[in-house]
């Protein structure tokens, strides 16, 4: 805003610049990189022709490059000393054949358009003969859902039938689902975390963000905690509340900057918290599966339906799920926001 020849800078522009990884307060610089120029040109071409590009442009560029004699556009990765040895002993393989590739791509696109249309027509045919929308006598309304609604309160202690169902009746699915989230968090850590490098220190000096964030952060956190704790009484529960909590953590990281956040909540501790909560969840549910299947006594008091301490394991389970989800969302954020270099 300081040195822009007096031109006002719109918020959207600033946002776009931020999204492009530039400092919104700096002037935009376009690096002259031929590869990038080619890439942009290609993207523009794709944009103007969208679905109609059957790989023709790519081919044209490739031929041009070949004609110029740049057969090796990619400096391949060093550090694989062995591969050099291989490359001498290997007989030359089939070369890259543009014509074949082009016809393949065309075939693929035509085939997939065809498949999509066929799929659409079939599915339209299917939904038109399905039980009517909103029909109270639809086959899906049967003894299963009736029991969830009618006896759910006595059997699980939850007023919210959805929470009662996912955390008690069909708890194994939900354990699998938390495991999916955990697996995804571990995978993203494996893909994006570089242990040698320190976490990026990126303090945000933006005044508006700071003030507004400080204003809404407590509300977001409170709402998240409320939704988690009241999961068995009102709409929401561990998953929704956990996501809100995760958003709150992300917001606080934006306000405080990563370096201060790293002191408050180091990423190691986040992982440990997730693991402990998931283990606690697994042990609680494992106990109830085991006792349930073997018909051993079940002596967790249900409490009065409607009170906050009711529903047996539901409240601790919701808290565990909430922490798992919140921490995972925050982990995703830290990994994606961390700078590479």
């Amino acid at each position: 805003m300081m040195k822009h020849d007096g031109k006002p800078q719109h918020l959207f522009d600033r946002f776009m610049r931020w999204a492009e990884g530039e400092d919104p307060n700096q002037d935009r610089e376009v690096a002259e990189d031929p590869e990038r120029a080619e890439f942009i040109e290609y993207l523009e071409y794709i944009d103007s022709h969208e679905f109609l590009d059957f790989g023709a442009y790519r081919l044209m560029r490739y031929r041009e490059r070949k004609a110029k004699g740049i057969t090796q556009p990619l400096p391949h990765s060093s550090g694989q000393g062995q591969s050099v040895v291989i490359s001498q002993s290997r007989i030359p393989g089939r070369r890259y054949r543009p014509g074949r590739l082009r016809s393949l791509i065309r075939l693929y696109r035509i085939a997939s358009i065809f498949v999509a249309i066929v799929m659409m027509v079939t599915l339209l045919g299917v939904v038109l003969v399905m039980p009517q929308f909103g029909d109270p006598d639809a086959p899906a309304v049967n003894e299963v859902s009736e029991r969830y609604l009618e006896q759910g309160v006595e059997e699980t202690g939850a007023i919210n039938a959805v929470t009662g169902m996912i955390l008690d009746y069909r708890a194994f699915d939900t354990f699998g689902e938390s495991t999916v989230l955990f697996a995804a968090a571990m995978s993203v850590i494996l893909l994006l975390r570089h242990p040698g490098r320190p976490a990026a220190t990126e303090g945000s000096g933006d005044l508006i963000l700071h003030r507004m964030g400080m204003l809404i952060l407590p509300a977001v956190m409170m709402f998240g905690i409320y939704v988690i704790l009241n999961g068995h009484l009102s709409p929401g529960g561990g998953f929704s509340g956990g996501t809100v909590l995760g958003c709150g953590l992300i917001l606080s990281a934006l306000i405080l900057g990563r370096s201060r956040m790293e002191i408050l909540l180091p990423s190691k501790r986040i992982t440990k918290l997730t693991v402990i909560c998931l283990l606690a969840y697994g042990v609680m549910k494992g106990y109830s599966f085991f006792t349930g299947a073997n018909h051993i006594g079940w002596d967790i008091p249900k409490g009065t339906p409607g009170a906050i301490f009711s529903g047996g394991f539901l409240l601790p389970l919701n808290i565990c799920v909430g922490i798992i989800v919140g921490c995972t969302m925050y982990t995703f954020y830290t990994l994606f926001a961390g700078k590479e270099e």
Binding site: F15, M16, W18, A19, E20, G21, E22, A31, D33, R36, D47, E50, L74, P75, H76, S77, S78, G79, Q80, N160, V162, T163, V227, P235, G236, G237, F239, S240, T243, V244, G246, C247, I250, M329, F332, Y333, F336, A337, K339, E340, E341
Partner: protein, 86 residues
């Protein structure tokens, strides 16, 4: 009510098409955010507040933040040498 639902559905389809055909990736993600919000409204109309809260927080919140951060990361990587990965 039915009219509102149909309008919202049409808007959803419009958003989906716009997100797919938008030239700018940032615009795509913003359109996707609005798509998620409209979806959350539809789920409120379908009497599923649990889903609406989750979709609003996940679709319009976390997923979009992840998309923005990824786009930002991608654009930051523009200048990095290609063969830094072993």
């Amino acid at each position: 009510m039915i009219l509102l639902e149909i309008l919202l559905l049409l808007f959803l389809i419009f958003c989906a098409l716009a997100a797919v055909f938008a030239k700018n990736l940032v615009a795509t993600v913003i359109i996707f955010m609005s798509y998620s919000s409209v979806m959350a409204i539809l789920w409120i109309l379908l009497q599923s507040p649990d889903l609406a809260i989750t979709e609003a927080a996940v679709g319009a919140g976390v997923t979009s933040i992840l998309f923005f951060l990824a786009l930002r990361k991608l654009n930051q990587l523009r200048g990095v040498d290609r063969d830094d990965e072993t």
